[in-house]
Symmetry: C2
Subunit: 253 residues, 2 copies
Amino acid sequence: MEYTQQLEFHFDRIDKEAIPYLSVDCIIFGFHENQLKVLLVRWKNTEEWSLPGGFIHKTESVDDSAQRVLEERTGLRNIFLRQFQTFGASVRYDTADTWKRLNLPIDHFRWTNRTISIGYYALVDFSRVNPTPDFMTEACQWWDVDMVPPLLFDHNDIIDSALKTLRIQLNWQPIGYNLLPEKFTMPELQKLYETILGRTLDPRNFQKKILGLEILDRLKERRRGGAHRSPYLYSFNKEQYEAALQEGSLMFL
Amino acid sequence: MEYTQQLEFHFDRIDKEAIPYLSVDCIIFGFHENQLKVLLVRWKNTEEWSLPGGFIHKTESVDDSAQRVLEERTGLRNIFLRQFQTFGASVRYDTADTWKRLNLPIDHFRWTNRTISIGYYALVDFSRVNPTPDFMTEACQWWDVDMVPPLLFDHNDIIDSALKTLRIQLNWQPIGYNLLPEKFTMPELQKLYETILGRTLDPRNFQKKILGLEILDRLKERRRGGAHRSPYLYSFNKEQYEAALQEGSLMFL
């Protein structure tokens, strides 16, 4: 089917099946090579990027629609996903300019005169994700959070809000657990905290504090092949981590 | 105008002016006589209570619609108001049973087959509120949060979520500042923290900790007319309180 036809078919289905005025947007965070990353899509026939998002079916819960978008983009199910904010300004962005940038071959205006977006952030294990564009996009790619280009819609602001949420929730959501691979070194864990908090931490202090929380197991195995020393590997002790989160005793700020 | 006519007029306007499938619900908290309280409305011709809520006009921001509901119910403007969660389950409550309990003289069903509700909590100075029912309700009243009756819709769950949010946000939102009158005693402040956290705190420890934060001014004035001693009065030092919130240094948990 030709792209224009596909789009018409798609928007006809949205008209029938989706809740008008509403959308979900997903901020999918990953952590790789000491960088916090976010998954973005590039729209077909453009150089314009945005967050992955979608509409909510009339019979579908809002949480399920976010899960569906995530699964379509990453191939993963049962991801750590949290609703964090609904973006409801009466004018969120310059609609005319946005449709020009989107360069769509059909008029999508009736659908997007105003959209209220429910924002979800997801924390995924970078190595398990298979970024997948959909039929309206031609690339799906990780970006360093501090290198994100000017996005479509108000998506730069939405990423800023999600980062602010991560910073606040670092103490009572299992953020480290979901972003790191099963085994990691102390510098990797510290770098994750530093990236989210947006400031450097003293290594000795960090190690003392985090070990004091008794949520890590030090493994017998060490990281091999490093240029210098072979650092110890750690993994989260899931039970103790969950207990600490429940108690709210992971205060680090 | 007769009630049935009023309702028809009202729902006709909603059909034209409001965003379908969406609503806002407001959890308005106050603190009085050492009790955390929540403002509820009783629906006309029933003994059924719910949170105050409303619809979102097509040209209105979601925040503004919550402010509007608050102002209509309390007479107050510029209230401390925070969006905290969007309730988007595909089936939030038993619709048929709910409409039976609501006992409305016209069929409101087309509007409420499914509603996604954006929840806001508000913190108000109890003494300044003038609870005001609207034309669909005949009472607007404060309830102790631990005495709330079985509410319409899923509003008991929404209150629980709001309380959980307060508990978490006690450390980085000006919750005490907004719930207490300008001058208060140390036991009153402690009681507020205890009520929100849902557990008792040691008075000596509490006083030491909270004074250590340097966010309170002790006034020369004392509370007069008490049965026993005349306790000191305190007020928040707004500047230092804001600075502490920014730093995230109000950790109490």
